[in-house]
Symmetry: C2
Subunit: 189 residues, 2 copies
Amino acid sequence: MKKDRAATEEKIYKAFLDILKEKGPQGVGINAIAKEAGVSKSLIYRYFGGMKGLLLRFAQKGDFFKSLSVIDEKKDNLENLKDFIKEGTKELRKNTLTQEILRWQLIENNENTKSLFKYFNAQVGKTFTTNTKDESLNAAFQLMLGGYVYFTLLSKFNKTFIATDLTSETTWENFDEAIAKTIELFSKT
Amino acid sequence: MKKDRAATEEKIYKAFLDILKEKGPQGVGINAIAKEAGVSKSLIYRYFGGMKGLLLRFAQKGDFFKSLSVIDEKKDNLENLKDFIKEGTKELRKNTLTQEILRWQLIENNENTKSLFKYFNAQVGKTFTTNTKDESLNAAFQLMLGGYVYFTLLSKFNKTFIATDLTSETTWENFDEAIAKTIELFSKT
DNA sequence: TATATTTGTTACCATATGGTAACATTTTTT
DNA sequence: AAAAAATGTTACCATATGGTAACAAATATA
């Protein structure tokens, strides 16, 4: 049998990502990862230092929503902010990995996840900090962003929210439109 | 030893509620409930029909956010809507039981939870349906409501979101203010 | 009072979890 | 080639899970 540490580390890491994306935070466990990677779980402890070390590695690699960094400069003026939102929300709904980390933060926060959340939130902070003077607009913007996250996460297990169809593309366009319009209205004040 | 079915059923049901409120959906299990109730787990199966039956009972009793039904009529006109929001968000942040059901919907949806979510969402629908004509305002309102839910749930494990202090009372007042102002701006269009 | 029936506990089952120690095998170093 | 180090698996441990069967004790019925 061929032995290759780098390759098996990669297998383990990939298995972790795959499970997180598909099963969510609840599915991520030592046994499940080892099984998915087709490797003995002892190696997870030896190479990564268990679950905690695995999450730390993940955090430090920091490959969550890198696609957003491209459009980062767009948030300068108010008009570009609308584009920034549209691309940002679109990215969020595509990026299941980011979604699962956001979901994770809603259900636990322990010694294992600590580092992951710290790095992740730092990244979010860098990308999503608004430099608007209007405090009220800032709050409204944050709320709507939070709402977008909420409905995105909700859509994994629910097809509707009250009368709103979470599977319809126009629903999400309406949300985008609402955010844009809100910003317009605030800026005219 | 005294035997009283009604009393032990109550103990079980109360234990379930207590665990859900304190530990969240993840803490709710047959063993944990039996232990908390100080009763044999066999009885949960005999009296409730296991986890599924327990959740069904909970759903049918329907004692989630009953306090909101009182202010239900306030959402008629636009001015009262602001009060409705203020009281609604305040209630949400107080009612940890409602919070945990909302959290629950973000992490699973199986045969057990099916009935609970169905009844719960029906209740939410009755209480939170807006009868505004403006489609854009509706979307904005829903987003901000969703955002409020998101930050409320997030605050259980996180003290901050980016630069926003989730433990500060003024933060939540700012959110309320932002929603109110948004509605005002939309209504003037 | 004797007999059912209901209520409750103990004991067990299969399965899954995180974690470790002992062993075998391959690769590297001397 | 021999010794040492790295890589990998198997086997085990303690613990927890949901679920059931068998039994004991109390209550209701005859």
